[in-house]
């Protein structure tokens, strides 16, 4: 730190530069080593990520509050300026919604009666955990947010995360008191969806833009701008029927969807435990190994027939994420 002169300096300085150079090369190699390690996607990395989220979450929990109150203030100013227009819009919307309410009441009665007739088994009840957004990993490379709920609150990897407007993403890593949510716009996100009117199935694939792509659509699918996109519930990862977005553009080679949530205004989110756990967690994959030789029926009570990825053989289960 302080500058020293003298003979000591003359002896040690070449040694020091050599050491520096060696350390530099070593660090470069370890950076590439980390890339390989991260690419292998081991449980270890996931645990470390979850632990680091846990570590900063108390700080972020506190400092995100003033940020939220500043946001509230700007919102209030904006709202004051647009009070009249907003009121008019809400009045019109309210009229429409009242009509819809009547329709929904009629339909729900009819639905209940039809279900009785058909002895329909209703899907498992949703278990919702509400939590606050404490960090937004905004950036050009990843689309995810951190929430202040973890395994302490019953949040586990793979659960669906829902905002007021619709599906937001899924839990990528769950720490003890904080978790990271991978948004549907992230390049690693794939969600099985269905087009509301035509019931065409597809995948919603994020590509790190604000408009994720609709992929694996059949050639004869009828999709038009303005169509609503819902989760299909296939694969058992997400509950069916959660609104995701609205088709924003249809061109020859790409159908893009505008998500319903506004990312910069996310504050409270709900994590939905559907009880299906379609996305296999590491624990379930490991659990499925010993049951191969002994009793394979051990896993079946958790997974209803025909729903979810049933880990048939351990080698295929390892490929599922």
């Amino acid at each position: 730190m302080a500058q020293h002169g003298g003979p000591q300096q003359r002896i040690f300085s070449p040694l020091r530069t050599a050491l520096h150079r060696f350390a530099f090369i070593l660090l470069i190699f370890s950076a590439f080593g980390l890339m390989l390690l991260g690419k292998a996607d081991t449980v270890l990395i996931e645990r470390i990520r979850a632990a680091s989220a846990d570590l900063v979450s108390p700080v972020m929990n506190i400092v995100s509050r003033p940020a939220a109150s500043i946001n509230e203030l700007t919102d209030k100013i904006y709202n004051l300026a647009h009070l009249y227009e907003e009121n008019e819009r809400l009045r019109r919307e309210n009229q429409q919604l009242l009509a819809w309410q009547q329709a929904a009441r009629n339909l729900s009665h009819e639905n209940a009666r039809l279900r009785e007739l058909a002895t329909y088994t209703s899907p498992p009840a949703l278990n919702l955990v509400t939590s606050r957004v404490i960090a937004d990993m905004g950036g050009a490379y990843a689309h995810s947010v951190m929430i202040s709920a973890g395994s302490r609150d019953g949040v586990t990897k793979g659960q669906a995360v829902i905002s007021d407007e619709g599906l937001l993403g899924r839990v990528a890593e769950a720490g003890y008191q904080a978790s990271r949510v991978l948004l549907i716009t992230d390049i690693n996100s794939r969600v099985p969806v269905v087009v509301e009117n035509s019931r065409d199935r597809a995948f919603l694939s994020g590509d790190n833009t604000n408009r994720p792509l609709l992929t694996f659509l059949t050639a004869d699918a009828a999709v038009a701008p303005g169509d609503r996109i819902l989760t299909s519930g296939h694969g058992g990862a997400f509950p069916p029927g959660i609104p995701i977005g609205i088709v924003s553009s249809v061109s020859e080679n790409a159908v893009r969807v505008a998500p319903l949530f506004r990312r910069h205004q996310l504050e409270y989110l709900r994590v939905a435990d559907y009880g299906l756990q379609g996305i296999l967690s590491e624990e379930r994959i490991r659990q499925s190994h010993p049951t191969k030789d002994e009793n394979t029926t051990e896993l079946s009570p958790d997974i209803p027939d025909g729903v979810g990825i049933v880990p048939a053989a351990p080698d295929t289960a390892g490929e599922a994420q």
């Binding site: 730190m1 520096h20 350390a23 530099f24 660090l27 470069i28 370890s30 950076a31 590439f32 080593g33 980390l34 890339m35 390989l36 390690l37 991260g38 690419k39 990395i45 470390i48 990520r49 680091s52 989220a53 900063v56 700080v59 972020m60 400092v63 995100s64 940020a67 939220a68 946001n71 700007t74 919102d75 957004v133 404490i134 960090a135 937004d136 990993m137 905004g138 950036g139 050009a140 490379y141 990843a142 995810s144 947010v145 951190m146 990528a172 990271r180 991978l182 390049i187 690693n188 590509d207 790190n208 833009t209 604000n210 506004r262 990312r263 910069h264 205004q265 996310l266 504050e267």
Partner: protein, 171 residues
């Protein structure tokens, strides 16, 4: 009179300030801010601070520190592991060796220097992230991020310079 324990602890604490400031900027980067633009592309605050300290006090922010801070960034932001350590290490090494060039020059020279250094830094980050994810990431977000990073650098540098003058004058 021998130097007191507290005095020594004080010097160590002050010496850790540059690394700590980068960490704080990382956390600021994570804050959920309700500006539509910032949710798609955010300024690389850690990059600014690493550049600033490498130019002004390379003895207090070494390559190892830059590497570790990059690792923290990757872990916290859910980025492909290993990219930020490499980028920050290269920026630290490159800027520290050119540090003398910026001494006793007006601030605008340092600003230009940073704007130049940030181009390859963000390009390498974009390229390696794309390669590791296995798909070309949209370059537009990186471009916006670059512009934000270059434009906001004076603010961060001003704050860090104030801190340097008040905390690190005798360290």
């Amino acid at each position: 009179m021998k130097p007191g324990v507290w005095q020594r602890l004080d010097i160590i604490a002050r010496g850790l300030f540059p690394a700590f400031s980068v960490f704080v900027l990382l956390l600021i980067n994570l804050l959920p801010i309700s500006v539509p633009l910032l949710s798609t592309a955010s300024p690389a605050l850690a990059l600014m601070a690493v550049f600033y300290w490498s130019v002004n006090r390379p003895d207090l922010l070494t390559g190892v520190t830059a590497f570790l801070l990059g690792l923290v960034q990757d872990l916290l932001m859910g980025l492909p592991l290993g990219v930020s350590p490499l980028v920050l290490l290269l920026v630290q090494t490159g800027s520290a060796s050119q540090g003398r060039f910026f001494h006793n020059k007006p601030f605008s020279v340092m600003w230009w220097g940073f704007a130049l250094v940030a181009i390859p830094a963000l390009l390498v980050q974009w390229l390696l992230s794309s390669a590791l994810i296995g798909a070309l990431l949209p370059i537009k977000a990186t471009l916006i991020s670059y512009v934000l990073t270059a434009v906001l650098f004076p603010i961060v540098a001003w704050v860090l310079a104030r801190a340097q003058n008040s905390l690190l004058r005798y360290v």
